[in-house]
Amino acid sequence: MRAILSIAKKDLRLMFRDKGDVFFTFVFPMLMAVLFGFVFGGQGGGSKITLALVNESGSKVAASLADDLVKDESFEVTRAETRDAAIAAVRAGKAAAAVVLPASIEEGAGAMFGGGGMEIDCIIDPTRRAEAGLIQGKLNELAFRQFPRMMADPAQSKRMFDQMRASIESSKDLSPGQKLAGAALAAAGESFSRSLSPETAAGAGTDASAGGFSPVQVKLEELPKRKGGPRSSFDVSTPVGMVWGIAGCVGAFAASLVIERSRGTLARLRLAPISRMHLLAGKGLACFITALLVQALLILLAVAGFRCTIAQPAMLAAGCTMAAFGFTGLAMLIAGLCKTEAEANGAGRGALLVLALIGGGTIPLFFMPPVLQTLSYASPFRWAVLAIEGPFWRDLPVSEQFAPLAVLLAIGVGGFVIGARLGALREAR
């Protein structure tokens, strides 16, 4: 065991001193996970928030609010015909939220002094929760901006104050004196609103929010999470980054074994009183540890940086362990197949790239066309992605996660045995 640990320690030290290996094993996969996360999520640092807007009201106030939403620089608004169409756009990931201006919006505006207020429905994608606050704030601001216009519209203003008077008159909680004062206030307000011109209203700005009443009610609603669906784009991109990390690790260690053989250091190691299996186990352990490390790093990034949650932590640990084991066997196989450093660095890494591409290393498996999905069965990356995705965000029943784990175990054992045999044959020549 001492010899195995010594070899593993030496290999880890060598790997961490090679800038290229560190980049392709740790930095590149993190970049992949983050960039693909943004690509899949449609989130960019300075990009606009996409909204699907439905105007169910024929009122002026709704039309004005809709126009303001379209003009606002924070949003990219697509108009939808119906509430269902807008929600479908959110479900499809085409919009972060559906904003519905209901038919009752005018009625609510008229009743703002009577306990009502403009109601706006906002149905948000649960994966875009971070943007919900901004959307709500903006909707409030734009809704408030409508009040000077409403006050300057004589018909709208009259309806609003008529409703106010009726509400005061019918109130059972107010004393006759209070009702008289309320009627006087309504008359004064109506008189004030008549004095407003559209020009002054347009320049009224957004500071109309003062007062103790609640004239706007933005009703936020989250779409229900779909069982087995990714909760965030980073749920999808993290396993992708993880398999790229493992690929980098496999490439580095397969090449290191070939380099040991071609440069003669392997002969020096074999002179030590250790068996060939000790030697391979030491090198395999270093590869295995690095593969676990890169996976842990990416999970940490997803959880701490992008608020991803792990559905089944214990099964994820099993998936990561088996992925590391399977790919350690693959590293041994590549090292056994490659004769020279050039072969290991060229053909070996090239083969890994192809396997990663067809195995869901760039395009998620569920986005792939059927032909590629069938081809992906031949790629160890497919099984690694499935072993990680299952417990990470798919929340699959444990029984359904055994197949990828078993395939990775077989790849690990097979790769190790065949690779060791091929390596022994090469060394005997």
């Binding site: 001492r2 010899a3 010594s6 070899i7 030496k10 030290r13 060598l14 001193r17 090679d18 440069r263 003669g264 250091t265 002969a267 020096r268 190691l269 074999r270 002179l271 030590a272 009183p273 250790i274 068996s275 060394e427 005997a428 020549r429």
Partner: protein, 279 residues
């Protein structure tokens, strides 16, 4: 100490070693002299147990074949290639090997070796930055980490400058003085003549003869050549007794210069193979 008997090894259709036998005695420096491709490195590979012979047997210290890791522990090898990790420091390289052998007091042993090969002041530098000579010395130190009884040095001076070569030869003498048994392969006859107690001449995978340098010259070197300069002209005389010939020439008078060319290992190799070592 080390005995190879009737060794045969072929790689495909190429026979590298054919019927080679040799016996290395305790405490001697044994030279394997032969041109590139003669089969020296294959012989070393078989002697260390890294290569399995197709036929014949190897015995180390009477313990059996060095393919057994317990037997192999008693030998150290400095291969022809520089078998060091360039991204590790000199100290880290040696400590790693000491760790593999499970040495107690590894740090002290490594410090001793670094001092022996005069790399103690560069111990914590990465070996990738070392000169060829420094790498060769560290390569040799790596063979000595576990203090083996038998040290096999495969072309330890290949590709180094004359100054580094002298330091390496000096190191070999130091090791011999400390009682190590050394097998030294080279294609430089001067090196073999300088440091080897006995030399085996190898060519085309066969051991042609074994003996001390003097014995080999006496057996195969032939006569010496005495060149005499007299009245501006040179006269060459081939003789078995060059001293007597010089005396005879001086006695006849008029000699303005004289040079004796004694037979050497080159002559031995030429006589044994019909070609030069450097061909």
């Amino acid at each position: 100490m080390l005995a190879l008997r009737d060794i045969r090894k072929a790689f495909g259709s190429t026979v590298a070693v054919e019927g080679l036998s040799l016996e290395v005695r305790q405490g001697e420096v044994f030279g394997l002299l032969g041109p590139n491709g003669a089969g020296k490195s294959t012989t070393i590979g078989i002697a260390t147990g890294l290569l399995a012979p197709d036929a014949g047997s190897v015995d180390l210290l009477g313990l059996g074949s060095p393919t057994n890791p317990r037997v192999r522990m008693h030998l150290g090898l400095a291969p022809q290639e520089i078998t060091l990790y360039g991204e590790l420091t000199a100290r880290e390289n040696l400590l790693f090997l000491a760790d593999l052998y499970g040495l107690a007091g590894a740090k002290t042993r490594v410090d001793e070796l670094l001092a022996l090969v005069e790399l103690d002041t560069r111990a914590d530098e990465r070996t990738a930055a070392f000169s060829g000579g420094m790498k060769r010395r560290l390569n040799l130190a790596a063979a000595l980490v576990h203090d083996p009884q038998l040290v096999l040095l495969d072309e330890p001076t290949a590709g180094v400058d004359p100054q580094s070569r002298n330091r390496i030869l000096e190191l070999v003498r130091t090791l011999a003085a400390r009682g190590k048994t050394i097998v030294y392969t080279t294609h430089y006859m001067e090196e073999a003549a300088k440091i080897c107690d006995r030399v085996g001449i190898v060519d085309h995978g066969r051991m042609l003869d074994v003996g001390t340098v003097a014995e080999l010259i006496a057996r195969h070197g032939g006569n010496s050549t005495v060149t005499v300069e007299r009245d501006g002209a040179e006269v060459r005389v081939v003789t078995a007794d060059p001293v007597a010939e010089v005396a005879r020439q001086f006695a006849s008078g008029g000699v303005t210069g004289v040079r004796i060319d004694r037979a050497d290992l080159e002559s031995v190799f030429l006589a044994l193979t019909g070609r030069s070592l450097r061909e």
